[in-house]
Symmetry: C2
Subunit: 458 residues, 2 copies
């Protein structure tokens, strides 16, 4: 067999031990908070039917779906006309019926409809699984990455929104990242559209203000975009006046004539009432400019970003660390109507990068080996193996170098793997029933009994 070059597809990643442990630390932290708040785990298959996925993420999303070729002779049932005209998109449905999970929301909707008779509603579920997108690989953007979602399905109670704010607050506090949690409401944006005289153009206004951070010239760029979308200059100042309102009270009077605007404000106030007295560990604010993925959300909108001031790291790249909101009709695409849902997502990959940048990952001795035993001769090797069993039984993660080779080679291994302690066993140690324990940080070495070694590791 000819040797194959060892490589992986572009946009995918291998994770070594240190990375896996850190990634799991993040997942574990998020999961624990989800569970504390009563969210229950589900897992869905990597492959979904393409009929489930297609058309849910817009045309661009459909392009980014990974499609899995049908098994066996996939050309047997292929669309012959599409084949001969080399029409890939026309051919697709006849040769690929499955695709890879693109997000966790559509699978959730599918799951809820498929298992609706087994689910107690309101259904609080969390899901931590990878998703795949055929995005052009670039720095920080991968074709396989994890999403961590929590959603509540089947209730319109604003208690859920309040809990999701608390969840963001608790998770980031536990991770040690200072964040700013921002809240807005789709109905407020609808109210602003009414106020400026273009009630049917909420979407255009939202798309424009969503780019505020992206435009180099800020609000001037937004105005240009509004103009292009058919909203003239005289409306711009009214939009700006409303969105810049310094408090919910001010906004309430600005949007006094908009019923829908008042509804949105009232909902934010109710969320505020739930959170009244809650001692937030991060910062929480209303941001009427917030308009993420609005076509999707129908109620409250949430977004979380690193609070660069509080974290004392001005240079840290901003970017959203998570977001979410309420969608009135999650499951209609699978034929189940009137299932209101609200959810948030954590951007685990960005969280990882920020924690690396800020050196926030804790050292967890229970996840790595504490002790490497080194044997000086074959007899000591067997002897050390029997000691090792008792050391492990006491709860210590420990190893014995698999061969009693030269001490230098074994010590080199100990250094590379960064064992905090090395226990050396030769003829003398065997006779004295001791272990020569070396502290690899200080270099100190002492002759200890096995019990004393275990004690030192604890």
């Amino acid at each position: 067999m000819k040797a194959v070059k060892a490589s992986i597809p572009k946009g995918t990643r291998d994770f070594g031990p240190d990375q896996v442990r850190k990634r799991h630390f993040i997942f574990h932290t998020i999961r624990n908070v989800f569970v504390r708040y009563g969210f229950q785990p589900i897992e869905t298959p990597t492959m979904e039917n393409l009929t489930t996925l297609t058309g849910k993420y817009g045309d661009e999303g459909d392009q980014l779906l990974f499609k899995v070729l049908n098994n066996g002779d996939f050309l047997r049932k292929a669309d012959k006309e599409a084949l001969s005209s080399l029409d890939a998109s026309a051919l697709l449905p006849s040769i690929a019926k499955r695709g890879l999970r693109y997000d966790l929301t559509v699978p959730l909707a599918r799951f809820v409809v498929q298992h609706q008779n087994d689910i107690a509603f309101p259904f609080k579920r969390y899901q931590i699984q990878p998703v795949w997108r055929a995005d052009r690989p670039q720095k920080g953007r991968y074709q396989e990455f994890y999403q961590c979602d929590a959603d509540v399905i089947g209730t319109e109670s604003l208690l859920c929104e309040a809990e999701l704010v608390q969840i963001y607050d608790e998770v980031f506090a536990k991770l040690g990242i200072q964040v700013n949690i921002r809240l807005n409401h789709r109905k407020i944006l609808e109210g602003v559209a009414e106020y400026c005289g273009y009630p049917d153009q909420t979407m255009d206004i939202s798309m424009a203000i969503d780019k505020l951070d992206k435009f180099k010239d800020g609000w001037v760029g937004v105005c240009r975009e509004l103009e292009e979308r058919g909203i003239p200059a005289e409306a711009h100042s009214k939009i700006q006046e409303a969105l810049q309102a310094d408090s919910i009270e001010t906004l309430k009077s600005i949007l006094a004539d908009s019923t829908v605007g008042q509804e949105g404000i009232a909902e934010l106030e109710t969320i505020g009432r739930f959170l009244d007295g809650y001692e937030i560990q991060n910062t929480l604010q209303h941001d009427f400019f917030l308009a993420r993925g609005l076509s999707y959300y129908t109620g409250c909108i949430l977004e979380v970003a690193v609070n660069t001031e509080a974290s004392g790291q001005k240079e840290i790249r901003m970017g959203s660390m998570g977001g979410g909101g309420r969608y009135a009709d999650l499951t209609h695409m699978f034929g189940l109507k009137n299932m209101s849902g609200v959810g948030v997502s954590f951007g685990a990959e960005r969280i990882y990068d920020v924690m690396e940048d800020l050196d926030l990952f804790p050292h967890d001795p229970s996840a790595v080996s504490q002790l490497l035993l080194i044997a000086m001769d074959e007899e000591s090797h067997f002897y050390a193996f029997h000691l090792l069993r008792q050391i492990r039984a006491a709860g210590v993660n420990a190893e014995l170098y698999p061969e009693p080779v030269k001490m230098k080679r074994q010590m080199k291994y100990a250094n590379t793997r960064q064992f905090p302690y090395v226990g050396i066993i030769g003829e003398r140690e065997r006779e004295e029933q001791k272990i020569a324990l070396k502290n690899m940080t200080t270099g100190e070495q002492s002759s200890l009994s096995m019990e004393e070694v275990i004690q030192t590791m604890m």
Copy 2:
């Protein structure tokens, strides 16, 4: 948008909360033992290059690989000749360059070669990830399932084999499944082939004896198979004599003239020496009939199955719960020679089924909600939400029904979700600063302060 039927591809599964928790209990148990023994985690991408996967699992394996269609206009670079002759296998390389991970061994080999300069050898790695195989779906066989592997790469020390036996022993003891761990050695089978006079037919002999359990007529069937493979009757009794040896001593004298056979025996004896004095919690035996996947393994072979007698469950379906062995040259397929490896795999799906059958999953209160608060009116609902925060802060997984609807509906939810406790809060409870706590198992109800409720949950 037309509603799509909510369904998943054949051979795949959704996992609800209870299943996810149980599956993670298994993974968690296995992972903890791996870590105790010094194994380090890696994770590899779901998609590998097809050049990495193809040809590694035999022709049948190649058929069972899931192939991922290239993105965009996949027909643009398609092999036009293969297209016009409708030759699916000839077309494949030009339209699909990636496939889904089929096992964890080939990705490990690829990983070791690709990252060889960053790895400290011997490399003890574990990996717990799903794999995909386009097997015909049937009861108990899925197209997506988890593997849990531990391997040591870069040493020939038999200490590794001894540790893998201990790992099997500890994991199954922790899971509560009584198993029988069987050991054999490829060189013993080679010795038997020499002994019976057909030294070049180790493979044929192994394939035949591997079917001993599958043939209804047992040994008679094996003899028929041997005959078909060109090994005549006079050799059968010699094979049987050797394989049935009641001890390693007996086998040693039977294979006295086989150098390779003696080497295999000596290795099993060394493994025995490492395990000498180890108080095994299951059973461990030599089984010279054991011949799993022999083309792959070059040294020791291990297999684990439920010990039906010890588990007191005669009817439990047998089947392997895991297996492994040593392979002399794991990485040669990627151009790195002389890397000996040894590893074991846990069949998580079968372990799950056995644990369900034997009702072995423990109840873990930290994984589920302990308390549902129920509010009788809107004012109580806000009040309860504030209590909830403090109850959670004390470490209790708790929920508040999101709306203060009729008590009956809230209690129905509590029953369906099987909360052990329900805390009812109405006007009186608010005034008295109490919670009416109902024990859902006994039906008892008592009026308690929040602190007392927390105490009860602990």
